[in-house]
């Protein structure tokens, strides 16, 4: 595992070194930890109270218990999964440490795996307390979804990582000039993946776009589960297939953008 003769060698030890680096950073800064919980909690409370209001005034929403809270929690898995990945990468640019890493024996694949692990760590720190708050405030238990939650989670985190990998490639190639993409790119998915409403609401031509995005299947699957009490395994399998394609395309783009960064000499000039 620790071989050094070719670029395809993979070292768990080097991945652990990078996870250690981000863990040191996270535990050194309480505002960073607080930031992981703050916004998901605000979103959950806002949508939770809206759902409470609607369920008191409309029969349909009374039946669809927890639909908005479930949607916002799953949306946060998608959004925070990508952001957790991208922020760890951005930390290297903010600290001007990318040159040290690129000159070290760390392989790009090891770097990416470390960022994925940190995305899970950051997601756990942010989301676990918020799901407990949803239980306390609105009686919505996300964990009771059991196997379905696992299928939703796997599909959403894969999409988050794929987008995170692509954004990291853009940052390598374009420096901090592309930072805005890391914070906003996922919002393109918010209307298109139909987080809070069925795909049928979209114009027909836009429905084709929506069904090309893996999270759409997850949010449709969530509504099927909460409204019709049916777990749509077929939707999860389709989402997974699209995720494999998306992940492959993002990885390919990352390698090409890294090659381009080496050609254009931007690895040591990552600031702007």
């Amino acid at each position: 595992m620790n071989g050094t003769d070719s670029g395809v060698d993979f070292s768990v030890n080097r991945v652990a070194a990078m996870v250690r680096r981000y863990w040191y950073l996270l535990r050194s800064s309480w505002p960073r930890v607080l930031d992981l919980i703050y916004w998901p909690a605000v979103q959950m409370l806002m949508w939770g109270f809206l759902q409470t209001y609607l369920s008191q005034n409309a029969g349909y929403f009374a039946q669809a218990g927890g639909m908005f809270i479930g949607a916002v929690l799953l949306w946060d898995i998608l959004f925070r999964g990508q952001l957790g990945f991208s922020i760890s990468f951005l930390e290297e640019m903010y600290s001007n440490n990318l040159g040290n890493l690129m000159m070290s024996p760390l392989r790009p694949a090891e770097f990416v795996v470390a960022l994925m692990i940190m995305s899970l760590v950051r997601l756990a720190i942010g989301m676990v307390p918020v799901t407990l708050m949803a239980m306390a405030f609105f009686g919505f238990n996300l964990w009771s979804l059991g196997f379905a939650l696992m299928a939703f989670f796997v599909n959403l985190i894969l999409t988050g990582w794929a987008v995170g990998i692509f954004v990291s490639g853009l940052l390598l190639r374009n420096g901090l000039g592309a930072e805005g993409m890391a914070w906003t790119i996922m919002f393109l998915f918010l209307p298109l993946t139909c987080v809070y409403y069925p795909v049928a609401v979209l114009p027909v031509w836009l429905q084709y776009v929506a069904w090309a995005l893996p999270p759409t299947y997850v949010f449709e699957g969530m509504r099927a589960l909460l409204i019709d009490h049916v777990f749509r395994a077929d939707l999860m399998v389709q989402a997974f297939a699209f995720n494999i394609l998306l992940f492959g395309a993002a990885s390919f783009a990352f390698v090409k953008l890294l090659d381009s960064a080496r050609t254009h000499g931007t690895l040591l000039q990552s600031r702007e």
Binding site: N2, T4, D5, S6, G7, D9, S11, N13, R14, A16, A17, M18, R20, R21, Y24, L25, S28, S29, E91, S95, N96, N97, L98, G99, N100, L101, M102, M103, S104, P105, L106, R107, D259, R262, T263, H264, G265, L267, L268
Partner: protein, 253 residues
């Protein structure tokens, strides 16, 4: 049958162009193992681009560069664990303590017995007083010593130094040079040093490569350069080469 001697670093007709501008223009050199070479030149001469290509961070437009027999950047993972570098243009994470930073990099370089290696470097580079202090809280001199410790963690066979004593007071700078001399003597490492400090180059380097506008203007020992240019100091030679004055044009031929 004797084995051919592989140079530690070899550049052959190396060219790098960025959007039409030529940063490095067909340079060739070969550095034997264990040598200390100064890479000199004014701003924009092509030194940093050359070092970046040696490190595998920049792909040459044409020509080849090999380090310890591996072609860069294609075969970089064969040799990156045997190299290291120090530069004022990159930093280590500021919120991590010195010990945490050194631990992370030691693990990246698969250094055995990390705690013992850090203890040795802390002793040699006098880091003991601030080993558990955040890197961002250190003075410029302390940060340079920490960067040097990072560069020496894996006992590199090839050490690339870009302005290793920039922004240091004369006492600390002298101390850093002394340590580099001792490391080179003990390890037999190949050192390539980019610097604007001519005293430093005269003290450390047995060979000097002058670059100007992406080309090698001259390449010789400091003593022979002084004789050939008829100058007392390397700084005067530097000025002759940079401005094309004095004996520069004849000396370069």
């Amino acid at each position: 049958m004797t084995q051919p001697v592989v140079p530690a670093i070899a550049a052959d007709n190396l060219v790098k162009r960025f959007k039409g501008a030529t940063a490095v223009d067909g340079i060739s050199f070969s550095l034997p193992a264990g040598s200390v070479t100064g890479l000199l030149g004014g701003n924009g001469a092509g030194k940093t681009t050359t070092i970046s290509m040696i490190m595998g961070l920049v792909v040459p437009t044409s020509g080849t560069i090999t380090v310890l027999g591996a072609q860069m950047p294609k075969q970089r993972y064969r040799v990156l664990h045997r190299m290291n570098f120090e530069s004022p243009y990159v930093d280590m994470p500021m919120r991590l303590t010195v010990r945490q930073n050194l631990t992370v990099f030691a693990q990246l370089y698969a250094v055995p017995d990390i705690a013992a290696r850090i203890a040795v470097l802390a002793e040699e580079l006098d880091l003991g007083d601030f080993l558990d202090k955040r890197t961002g809280k250190l003075s410029a001199g302390q940060k340079t010593r920490v960067s040097l410790a990072k560069a020496l963690l894996n006992r590199p066979e090839v050490l690339l130094l870009d302005e290793p004593t920039a922004s240091l007071d004369p006492d600390t700078a002298d101390w850093v040079r002394g340590h580099l001399e001792r490391y080179r003597a003990a390890r037999g490492a190949t050192v390539l040093l980019a610097s604007h400090n001519m005293n430093e180059v005269e003290r450390l380097c047995e060979r000097v490569i002058f670059m100007k506008k992406g080309r090698i203007e001259d390449d010789d020992t400091p003593a022979r350069l002084l004789t050939r240019y008829g100058r007392e100091t390397l700084e005067d030679v530097f000025l002759d080469v940079a401005r094309g004055t004095g004996n520069a044009s004849e000396a370069a031929q």
